[in-house]
Symmetry: C2
Subunit: 352 residues, 2 copies
């Protein structure tokens, strides 16, 4: 086998240069970009800044046996953009902090950057700086993003009121089903080879499910989630939602977080949930869909009086399903309504 160049072979400075070479010309508001002690950016006049950070850690958030480096790069940025979407903010600047095992191939770092930068370009966010460190353990990708939002258009978790309707974008459950399929495929592949090189496992697991359409879609959603940036911004701009959160940790967790932050309760209608893929066993499907995380859809509440504003937003995003799944209640219980049988909503997903 020919020697593959690892990150330890070329070192920190050369890696920074490789990243710098991949980045498009920054916009004019980037005063100092990559390569100094810090980046210097010009804030947007009269707007507030949203700032958030989220990390993907190997063995906790991804498995290199079936997540390729480009998937990891895409997702590390996507989960952060999803937080901006949930606040109604427009993406602006990103910082990338990489913790790299010494034996990681340089080509994998290139692919990781390619996956991240493709999403960055589509989302109009500029990579302005970061940090590279060696890791004696897992590959970790920690991203920080900033966004801009008008003071009166911020979406938070705390604005829900009793009587609000609860909505969710797109479908839920797909990422959890996709992950299950990938884990199954990786397990089968392990019978042939003990170690799958980074990137190949991914292609293989994908191939194993290529003919199963809903699952293939779930796998795509798990590996390459698409943050609902445009929808979040439209919700904020039209002041259509009272509270909003992204479903990084599952629907059950999202509902609870909004309820807790707003001091309210919620009733979720089990049959209204837009679950994909459909499964024969309804109860299993529901519990996977509401317990499993990583769908990165938006969950939000709307005052029935302001439903007209939501309909206005709907007309602008015709290809995206918007489903009413329940309502906000004054009593603080968070429950699931299954044909009149009321149960406590199962617990959410904690990465710990």
């Amino acid at each position: 086998m020919p020697h593959t160049r690892s990150v330890a072979d070329i070192g920190e400075r050369a890696l920074i240069e490789r990243i710098r070479a991949r980045i498009p010309l920054p916009p004019s508001w980037v005063i100092v970009g990559i390569g100094d002690d810090g980046a210097v950016i010009e804030p947007e006049r009269n707007l507030l800044e949203v700032i958030t950070t989220d990390a993907l850690v190997e063995g906790v958030h991804f498995d290199r046996a079936f997540c390729g480096p480009a998937d990891i790069g895409h997702k590390a940025l996507a989960v952060n953009l999803s937080d901006l979407a949930a606040m109604g903010a427009a993406p602006r600047a990103a910082l990338l902090s990489l913790m790299l095992p010494a034996d990681l191939a340089v080509a994998d770092v290139d692919s990781l950057l390619d996956g991240m930068l493709a999403l960055a370009e589509r989302s109009r966010i500029s990579l302005v700086g970061g940090n590279i460190s060696r890791s004696p353990g897992p590959l970790s990708v920690d991203v920080t993003v900033t966004g801009s939002v008008h003071r009166r258009r911020i979406l938070t978790r705390g604005g829900a009121r009793a009587g609000d309707e609860i909505y969710v974008t797109g479908t839920i459950g797909g990422a959890a089903a996709g992950l299950r399929a990938l884990q199954h495929a990786a397990l089968q592949s392990a019978h042939d080879t003990n170690a799958l090189p980074l990137g190949q496992g991914n292609a293989r697991a994908r191939g194993a499910n290529a003919e199963m359409e809903p699952l293939a879609e779930g796998i795509r959603r798990y590996l390459r989630p698409e943050p609902r940036l445009r929808f979040g911004m439209l919700l904020g701009r039209n002041r259509a939602a009272r509270a909003c959160i992204d479903l990084s940790d599952g629907l059950a967790d999202g509902v609870r977080q909004i309820a807790q932050a707003s001091g309210v309760g919620a009733v979720i209608d089990a049959h209204a949930l837009p679950i994909q893929p459909k499964r024969a066993k309804m109860f299993e499907a529901i519990s996977e869909a509401i317990g499993g995380g990583e769908d990165y859809e938006l969950l939000f509440t709307v005052s029935p009086k302001l439903r007209g504003r939501l309909n206005g937003v709907r007309r602008l995003v015709k290809d995206l399903a918007i489903t009413k799944i329940g309502r906000v209640t004054a009593n603080r219980a968070v429950v699931l309504d299954m044909d009149g049988r009321i149960e406590e909503l199962p617990s959410g997903f904690e990465h710990f």
Copy 2:
């Protein structure tokens, strides 16, 4: 031995609540603080924003055998503040991304936060958000900070011109000597016990060197570096420096980075270097002081015509030594002058 509560025992949400409870009331420019999808802050009118990130990874940047959790918390913020100092920026907001081994004691997370928040309060920076993840490997602490700076007062690496004088704050070499002493003490302790609990090794190693004054100072500098925030801001405000960098990776690296970014060279006078502690073998002392990182002093260049501005700054920071150590040259070589013997400046320190 009584059971020590670990982070896995209490989980992510409880940890976030513990952090939130430790944080003082945020300033009025924090519109949304910890606990939503992102923090929302109001930028300072007419100022630019500096944003930078730096991570401390166990086994790469620190050893829990002799770095206590409060030291780690302090240092993770300090290395970022040092970057703000090097840009001439005033600290503003910080985000904390923690990657925690499941068996880490909750009390250690508390101490880590206490160490970080004590420095944050003194430095007037507000912790506004972050992320907590499990780590299947090392404890990693990734911090992102923002700062404010006036457009015409930014310090960068790229402004040095031939003829400039090169200065350094404080003393250099202390942190490298401190690290060596700590490693030595930890090695000796290892003869008694195989595993030093987090925090105790630190106290022990400190105790072992308590009577050796310059070394104790080096250990303090290694464990608890003090970013030169006030000096950096004064340099920027008085427009006294043409280029500036912090010495995270050693003096040799700092000189090279400024030279490269500015397209110039430099001559460093070996005898002028403010090395602490003094050592019998001059050559060893110089090579440790300029090769070893982590002093977190500022290195900067000053036009001889504007020396008056630097003297003005000096009068404001009487307790801080400011030493002229060389000059910027038009030819791009970066050299050390030892009594007229000219040598290439040794390579800097890479964390990889």
